[in-house]
């Protein structure tokens, strides 16, 4: 828009409220974003048509008495628009709304948290914002289907209808540990997130020991939480050998569910194991072993 048009538009906007609305222009009250529409004018002679709204300001030279045609790509941003037809003798104005297309084209899906403990009531929240192809928030009620699924458990699925463009849900985290896919679907559009359910603290930690030359080989049984879920690999298990006032320790990460290490062999040594707050069994290495 050039400076002259801007000044004209400003004047038109300023005087519009003072003028009687004669509705000499015919325009639909709502227009779908990205659709064709036309504006009817009455009278004769040249005029300038201005449209002002969230998508910007448009200026077009028109011949009064003719239809003014707008193509699908002319107005794609939803919102409230004002229209002015300024001629040498009068200024006509009208208001109309551009609404989002009702066909979902994308979903902004906020899924929280990315990791959480197993079996947590309402622990997972999902919020879906549904947009049309022009990234307009679809304010019309739209069904959104949320689904939490994994290979280990039956999917949880629920459909919620958007309010003012937003649908949300709270779900319990599954009882089994592992990665879960959390989807939100509206129409043909689907947004995917990954939620990881992690087990609790180690429970019933047990280790075994056997001699190997001058060393004792220590190995835990598969480490699980109190619900039987395998504690994740990488979790640190601490082995401590106490002998003759000296200590030997090793922080060993779980690999494939177990932790294993070796320590100096001393008859009479006491060896203990712990992971986080969980302590396991104690081994006293006897002279005869």
């Amino acid at each position: 828009m050039n400076r002259c048009s801007a000044i004209l538009l400003g004047l038109a906007v300023a005087v519009a409220p003072l003028m009687a609305q004669t509705s000499a222009v015919q325009i639909p009250k709502t227009v779908s974003a990205g659709s064709s529409f036309s504006i009817g004018t009455t009278g004769s002679g040249d005029a300038t048509l201005y449209i002002v709204g969230p998508g910007g300001a448009f200026e077009r030279k028109v011949q009064l008495g003719n239809q003014v045609e707008f193509g699908p790509s002319d107005i794609t941003t939803a919102g409230h628009y004002s229209m002015f037809v300024v001629s040498s003798s009068s200024t006509e104005s009208a208001q109309f709304d551009v609404v989002a297309s009702s066909a979902p084209a994308s979903i902004s899906f906020l899924a929280k948290p990315s990791r959480l403990p197993v079996s947590l009531h309402n622990g997972i929240s999902g919020v879906a914002y549904v947009f049309d192809i022009y990234r307009n928030l679809i304010l019309q009620p739209t069904p959104v289907t949320f689904q939490l699924s994994s290979a280990e458990h039956t999917p949880q699925s629920r459909t919620e209808t958007t309010r003012d463009g937003v649908a949300w849900i709270k779900l319990d985290s599954p009882a089994s540990a592992g990665s879960t896919q959390f989807d939100a679907a509206a129409g043909d559009v689907i947004a995917k997130r990954v939620i990881e359910e992690v087990p609790g603290e180690a429970c019933n930690l047990k280790m075994s020991a056997h001699g190997s030359g001058q060393r004792i080989v220590l190995q835990t049984e598969p480490v699980r939480d109190c619900s039987g879920n395998a504690v994740p690999d990488g979790t640190v298990v601490t082995f401590t050998e106490t002998y003759n006032g000296e200590e030997t320790t090793a922080d060993v990460p779980l690999k494939r569910g177990i932790a294993t290490t070796d320590m100096p062999l001393h008859a009479g040594a006491v060896i203990s194991v712990a992971a986080g707050v969980a302590t396991g069994n104690e081994v006293r290495w006897g002279a005869g072993q």
Partner: protein, 385 residues
Amino acid sequence: MTSESNNSGSNKGTVIALAIGAVTVLLVVIGTVWPSQSALANGGSYVPFLASFSSSPEGAVNGLLGKIGRHDFASAYDDLANKSQFTEPDFERDLNGTYASLRTYAALTGFDVYPQHSSADDAKIRVNLHWSSVVGGFSDVRDLDVTKSGDQWRVAWPVVLEAKVPPQVIPVNYLRWDVIYRGAGDDWGSQDVEAPHVRIIDMHPIDRGGSVVVLGEILNEDTVPAFVTVKSSLLAKNGSVIATEDAFDKISHLLLPKQVTPFRIDFRGVAMSQVDSIRMDPSSSLIAASADPVIEIENQKLSPLPNSSLSGELLNQSGQVANIAHVLGTFYDKSGHLVWVSDEYTNRALLPQIPLPFTVALPPDLAGQVATYRVVTSTYISSPQ
């Protein structure tokens, strides 16, 4: 009158300039003829005709250490009395370290010479070598035998030969974590991975030499590795911040799941009486990390006064060389309260299956309070082997 005044000022200036020049020349001569030990250790050139080092046991030791300080290992090796016992590369590896260890990048900043015994033909001298590195200094004490050969004294170097592991294959179930973060072009609704959950499980401020020291421990209670830092702010009664510091290297920054590290934050020059409260600010972020190498800490024991310390040996259970190991000792009293946190970096690389001794200092005045302790270690690896 004006002309006389100008001449007088000009003469004074000449006299001062000449005096400064004379003093400078004098100092240069003094420094050259009687160089300090540190200068000898760091000097870029050696002036043999000015210092007859090998005419006395101490002179021979000073000369040898001067060459070591200048990394002139070939010349130093040539001067040794026992060079038939090891090669020059052995000698250099002993002093300079291997595998990009802390010693490799350290500089000899000085040394102390303590004669222990001396006769006409031999002497025993203890030397304390002071090395400096980017993470602080370390000392290296060696007992040297010095023998007279003809009219020259020569040093027998007590070389520490690098232990070697027989060639072998060590199977390792490699475990590491990689992180895929949200991309710059992702939609605003795209979920990002959460930072690990960490928790300070103990915090205890103490007054140490008129300064505040905050001791504590932090736990990674998540199931993924965390890069942790701990910041602390001392607050006055009116709520204003007196000082803010972080643990810097008095912490193990990488924590595997369920791992605990101690931390120590020093506030130098801030008295405990000024402090009303302390604000702790732990932070964590996801980090691509490996669970290896596993380092066993063997034969840990507390040494009593006067050299109170915690010592032991690190044993690298993997097949990967750790260039530098950082050892953190946490000391507790009988009630389990934190008493002190101290650390040490090993100056030699941690080779697979080869024990490497360490000693973590414990302040003598706190030694009596310590009942139990815990040691953790972290390693720095320059590149995969």
